[in-house]
Subunit: 639 residues, 2 copies
């Protein structure tokens, strides 16, 4: 689905050089390769991660992988699925350990499609991305490394970045020119060091962790669950894996220890003996150890993610933290996704170059929250003996007293670890009262959508084929903004819909200003981008599917997206009495409707009421005008 | 998961020769290869089906494919999904065509996991099976054909069947010996002809059909749905396909026509012109035709499926009918599945050879029903002008008057086409009041399960990892009988569970009589068949997951299947008030419990109450004793 003509650059010129083929580098590369960019992607390892490393895919990341069409290839490896976390502690007045409670991984108050954590070896996940990359004509060049780079927009405005690359055995090297350079090289980033960007240590406490993947024989009943085990002999974390494997994390040393030494280590046998003591009275024997590693880790955050908005960092190069909450790979994915679509918007000509300035604050803020959370996570349960059972109550009961601080903290922790808690702050993309788009139609009081957060999930029925679908998944990750027109009842909103279509079609609107030059030649099989590479339009009608007649009920502009017209007729247990459940979940009146702009990465940009006249399109023009390269909708604005 | 030691036969000796690598042959081959049999599989085509042929996978077949672990490979091809069928007729007093109603493919009164028909080119489906076969060491030998065979159990009791095979170009040939021969060669079966088995024509009416697969440009609104279109210019059936394709079926001639000629044909252009006239006032243009074929077809049924229970027929070799209801591939799958596990039960030593005698009556009865249905299908909607809207009402309302004959016919048609209507009649496998197993615990009055029909679907929570699972999918297609112990509340049923375990462990029980010789050496990672290759035991406890303690609540025999212990704690909207919804759906009291024996192909064999004492195991011994090679449970029966 390359949306750009093949780049006909000189052989040493690229849109981007990506260093590192871990989760961050691969997500960026996969997106940009799909959207038609020319990529030089290198990694200093001879092959993808063979064992160990990250393995946790959080619920929101699974949504993203599905949106990319990669979920089924991941699930084909039969990963472990963690639905619950169990807490084990010394029993009151007894010996050994006892389960003190369990905690849903992703409790039902979070409306997740996949309410579990998926555990799979990082190498298998990398290979799924690599296969997709190769389908789009991009190969990861291995084992190659970066030896130097310069960035000078004045000297070379089109390809300002020059990068020196070398085979790791030193036998060959090349110099390439690019528009961008991305460092997804992990915690010891060469690019970050060359840029002299410091790492701030949020919490001065550092730890040495031992981690072991293997197959065990045990009578410990929760070996297939994620467990936090505290005992008088120390603490351990259990995480189930694919292929009957289990991962054990064990804290070997802490900078709070009297004899703290960041180079303290432990042998495999010592860790196994330690695990035996901690799990007592249960037995544990190793049948096979796949991977064992000891590593010191502190909480660090990169002071900058970029200096010049040409050379960017993401993933572990920007943030390090404990492995306990399984956030590393997920945060790396979202760093890269955030950058990918912004590069596309700028290079495709939709957005001003300054849009790239939103990458660092949006993602650095998430990293700060992650590090705060990482600190709290350990304390949350160690402080209160009844914490686990309270959490258990909180996760199953929606009426739990909200004023209990612990329950609040627990809920926000669940939201955060599931990936649904990411909340981008107001800026030109995420509407707020200080955004240039200001009118009575913006952000209707009833809406339950929050700008800077994910679109709420809802089932709808696709009109053309009666398929029941997840509305938030209907636009694939195509780099386009998603316009969800919640059309309400067509009999009531007919004029407003016509006015919306007229306004969108008008010269100088956000929509017409970025129309495809080849729009007239586009095949009628093009479902997502018939008019513009930067917008995909979905219309949700508050009616039963059989009552919807697309050409009769919708203006031609909306009807052109016939594969994206839906009936809001699927019962939802969260709004059991709603006639139009998807409208109700979004908090949009079915007699009025609304337009929801969703950023290409799935976060809500703005919500606008659907009104007769020009106000709706005016507000949309103002929204997009805040970052578009062209002045939008001047004509209407003056009406 | 080969369950037999590798067969160390002489190179020209096989367990089975399978002729034809269409749906029937591939299903049989795939099952038997997984279970460790040595197979000679030939097909006279140089490669799998390149275009055309069958393409409809019904809801129940998708369950089966999932149970085999093949569903995701099928779905990766992005097949079309048909949720609704639309009916178009001449409008009253008008010209052209108008939609008169729609009919859910698999209405909600059928409790289907996948309430849609999956449409995908047969060749892609064949390749999924072939890939699985190859993983299990079996290759389809192409292009080879069968030239002759003999079957003589007296002359050669171990390998009674001798088969002559030849490369289609005649350059090489071989003669092999086998225990069985299967003809899955399609309607013109060489094997059937050699056996001089006649074909009975159920309905003397024959038809000539034209079928065209291609990509069209049209404004016909239901082109992505299955449609039956009647117009003054003739009738057509529309079926959506993968890759924006559509299939059109058009009836070219009928033996009821005055000028009937079974060799009547039509060119591609004539069919396209005809489609244009029928669809008027909508337009239709062909962008590409992938496949076009004209073929005469009558309703035929093979008089026998086997003569000697060594040479068997299945699939189109046994039954031909119109393509309209999309049943061909599905019926072929189920023919082969039915035969596969019975061969396994006999060759593995569990069942007497006479078990094979149940293949023909079970599957021939389904074929008779299919042919009856095929007749009715066309008539159902042509007879009544309001049929479609009545069907529409029936499919959405569960309270529709049951005494309306049309609605009854409609519901039974839906059940049948979805694959959930297959009902095997009483025999030694499907308990009835005339079965040898007779006691007060057999078939408790409350149960909603019906012997000879599929287990009812239910969600449960797997205890060891808190995963929410589909209980009916938990045992993979491993050739074993599935014992579902609905344990009720453990506090109430503790003694009955202990007695069940004691009885199963007792020498001479159905369970102990067929224990694995290597049971002591089995890995603790063996989840499904630790004790016996012929039984997998699942236990469903009427409790919340967190309240279940497997070693405390279950006897060791049941606890050994720790990956198959479930908590019955998932709400089900069909039994919204039930404390133990899976128990409630099965109609089993949670204070009493029950044992459900499910055949290896998913059909319920017998339901027995869970009682203290020996009655429960006695009944199970009587059930299995009806077809087992050994006398079972004599000791208890005399108590």
């Amino acid at each position: 689905m390359a949306t750009h003509a093949d780049r006909r650059y000189a052989s040493n010129k690229y849109d981007i050089v990506i260093v590192g083929a871990g989760p961050a580098g691969l997500m960026l590369s996969t997106c940009l390769a799909r959207w038609g960019y020319k990529i030089k992607h290198i990694d200093n390892r001879a092959e993808p991660t063979p064992t160990g490393r990250a393995d946790g895919i959080q619920p929101r990341s699974l949504d993203l992988l599905r949106n990319m069409g990669l979920k089924s290839a991941i699930m084909a490896h039969k990963p472990a699925r963690v639905y619950e976390v169990a807490f084990w502690d010394p029993p009151r007045g007894g010996k050994g350990i006892a389960r003190t409670g369990t905690w849903a991984s992703c409790p039902s108050f979070i409306d997740a499609r996949y309410p579990f954590t998926t555990l799979l070896h990082q190498g298998m996940i990398e290979r799924v991305f690599i296969a997709d990359l190769e389908k789009n004509g991009t190969q990861v060049q291995r084992p190659w490394t970066i030896t130097g780079f310069t960035s000078d927009e004045k000297a070379n405005p089109e390809f300002p970045v020059t990068v020196q690359l070398e085979h790791i055995d030193g036998t060959s090297s090349e110099s390439v020119q690019a528009k961008y350079l991305f460092g997804g090289e992990g915690a010891r980033s060469f690019i970050r060091e060359q840029l002299k960007i410091g790492v701030k240590h949020k919490d001065p406490i550092a730890h040495v962790w031992g981690v072991m993947d293997g197959v065990v024989k045990t009578d410990f009943p929760d070996i297939k669950m994620k467990c936090t085990i505290h005992s008088e002999h120390g603490s351990i974390m259990v995480i189930p894996r694919e292929d009957n494997m289990v991962r054990l994390y064990i804290q070997i040393a802490s900078s709070t220890d009297a004899d703290w030494n960041p180079r303290k280590t432990a042998t495999q046998e010592e860790v196994q003996e330690s695990a035996k003591r901690i799990l007592n009275p249960y037995s544990i024997e190793w049948e096979r150890v796949e991977w064992y590693s000891v590593y010191p880790i502190g909480q660090g955050i990169s002071e900058k993610y970029t200096l010049d908005h040409r050379v960017f960092l993401g993933g572990d190069a920007c943030h390090t933290h404990s492995p306990k909450a399984g956030q590393g790979m997920n945060t790396a994915f979202l760093d890269a996704l955030n950058l990918a679509w912004k590069i596309h918007a700028v290079e495709g000509g939709l957005a001003k170059r300054s849009l790239l300035e939103t990458y660092e604050p949006e993602r650095k803020d998430v990293a700060e929250t992650l590090l705060d959370f990482d600190n709290k996570y350990a304390k949350l349960f160690s402080q209160r003996p009844d914490a686990a059972s309270e959490a258990s109550a909180a996760s199953t009961s929606s009426s739990a007293a909200e004023d209990n601080e612990f329950i609040k903290a627990f809920k926000s922790a669940c939201e955060f670890t599931s990936g649904y808690g990411v909340a981008y702050k107001p800026n030109e993309l995420n509407w707020s009262p200080s955004h240039p788009a200001q009118s009575h139609v913006v952000h209707p009081a009833s809406t339950k959508l929050r700008t800077g957060r994910l679109l709420i999930n809802a089932d709808v029925t696709r009109v053309v084929d009666a398929n029941v679908v997840h509305v938030e998944q209907e636009v694939p990750l195509n780099g386009a903004f998603r316009l969800f027109v919640f059309a309400g009842k067509p009999a009531v909103t007919a004029q407003a819909l016509r006015d919306l279509a007229v306004g969108m079609a008008r010269r100088g609107s956000f929509y017409s200003a970025y129309a495809r030059a080849d729009a007239d030649a586009v095949s009628h099989h093009e479902h997502h981008n018939p008019h513009s590479r930067f917008f995909t339009v979905c219309t949700v009608v508050a009616a039963q599917r059989s009552a919807v007649d697309i050409p009769r009920d919708l203006p031609a502009l909306l009807a052109r997206y016939r594969e994206h017209v839906y009936a809001d007729d699927r019962r939802d247990r969260r709004v059991p009495d709603a006639a139009a459940p998807a409208h109700a979940k979004m908090g949009l009146d079915q007699d009025r409707g609304g337009v929801v702009v969703v950023r290409p990465d799935g976060y809500v940009g703005i919500v606008v009421s659907l009104e007769e006249g020009t106000a709706t399109v005016d507000a949309l023009n103002q929204y997009f005008g805040a970052f578009s390269t062209k002045k939008l909708g001047e004509t209407q604005a003056q009406l």
